[in-house]
Amino acid sequence: MTDDSRALAIEGVRFFGEMSASISHEIKNVLAIINENAGLLQDMVMMVEKGMPLSPERLSGLAQSIIRQVNRGDRIVKGMNRFAHSADYPTETVDIGEVIHFISLLAARLIAMKGEAPQIDVPATPVTAVSNRFFLEDLVWTCLCRAMDTRAPDQQVGIVAEKVENAVRIRFCGLAGDFLAREPGFPSPRETMVAGLLGIRLTSDREKGEICLTLP
C-alpha cells in the first residue's frame, strides 16, 4: 500500500466514523424518548393500581409519541444504510444536488451545533458528474464545515450547485472575506488529497467569500 492510498484509507475511515458517531447519537435520542414513554406508562400502571383513573387521551398521546419516534428512528437508519452504500462503487454518475441534500440531512445534528442550517440552491434539472460518491460526500461535508466555521457575521451559509461549461461547480457561499487569513491551513493536506483523488479543483475566492469545488 502506498503512502497516498494509506492516507486515503485513514481519511475514509475517519469520515465514516464521524458520520456514524453523529447517527448513533441521533438513535440514542430516539431511544431515550421511547424509554421515557415506557417509563411514563409504568408510572400510569402504578397509579391505576392505586385506584387513580386512566385517561384514554393520555394513552393515545403516548402511543402517538412512540409512533413518531419509531418513524424518526426508521428515517435515521435508512439514511445510515444509504450512507453505508455510498462506498459501493469506485465511480458512478452522481446527482450533485442529491449529495448536498443528503449530507445536510445526515449531519443535521452536527450542523445544528455549528449554527443555522445552510441554504441549498440546486437547479430543478439534476446536475450530474461521474465521481466516487463516498469521497465526494466527504469533501462536501469538509467544505461545509469550513464554510460554517468561517461564515461572515449574520450570514447564512449557502451551497449552490451549477453547471458551468464542461464542468459542474459547487459553491459554498457566505464566508467572511478574511477567512483565508483566519484559516491559514486552507486547503489542508487532507482536503487536497481527497480533491486530488476525485480530480476536483478546490479553490477559494476571498472577495466573494466562497469556497468552490469544480468537478470535471
Binding site: A21, H25, N29, L31, A32, G39, R68, Q69, A112, M113
Partner: protein, 142 residues
C-alpha cells in the same frame, strides 16, 4: 422540601415526558430547550440540580457547564449523553459536573442523584454563609 430541577435538552418530547415523570416524583421542574435560555434562568432562579444534554446546538454541554459553574458554583450539574466515554466523563468531572449519565437514563437512579445534588448544594450554601460570617467578623477585628 421539593428538589428544584432545571432540565435542559433540545429534544422537546424528551423534556416534556421526563419533566412529567419527575413532577410525579414530587420534584419542581423547569424545562429549557437551549443552553443560552438555561443561563438566563439560572441568573434569576435557584436550582438544586441542572440536568443537561451534552450535545446541544449553540453551546455544548461542557461550555454550558463552565458558564453555569462560573455564575452559580453551588448548583449541581448532571450531564446526559448519548455515549458515555471515559474521556467525556473525565472532561465533564474536571469542568465541575456532579455526575455523568448515559441516555436512555433510569429515572429512579437519576432521582437518587438529584436528592444527592439537593444535599450537596445545601452543604455548599451553608459553607458560603459561614464564610460570609467569618469574613464579616474579620472585618470587625473579631
Amino acid at each position: 422540601m421539593k428538589e428544584r430541577v432545571l432540565l435542559v435538552d433540545d429534544e422537546v418530547e424528551f423534556l416534556e415526558i421526563m419533566a412529567e415523570r419527575m413532577r410525579a416524583r414530587d420534584m419542581e421542574v423547569t424545562t429549557s430547550t437551549s443552553a443560552s435560555e438555561a443561563l438566563s434562568l439560572i441568573a434569576s432562579e435557584s436550582y438544586d440540580a441542572v440536568i443537561m444534554d451534552f450535545m446541544m446546538p449553540e453551546m455544548d454541554g461542557i461550555q454550558a457547564l463552565k458558564a453555569i459553574k462560573d455564575k452559580r458554583p453551588e448548583m449541581q450539574i448532571i450531564l446526559l449523553t448519548g455515549h458515555a466515554t471515559v474521556e467525556k466523563g473525565v472532561e465533564a468531572m474536571k469542568a465541575g459536573a456532579m455526575d455523568f449519565v448515559e441516555k436512555p437514563a433510569d429515572l429512579d437512579a437519576l432521582a437518587k442523584k438529584i436528592k444527592k445534588a439537593h444535599h450537596q448544594k445545601a452543604v455548599i450554601v451553608q459553607k458560603q454563609s459561614q464564610d460570609k460570617v467569618i469574613e464579616m467578623l474579620r472585618k470587625f477585628g473579631m
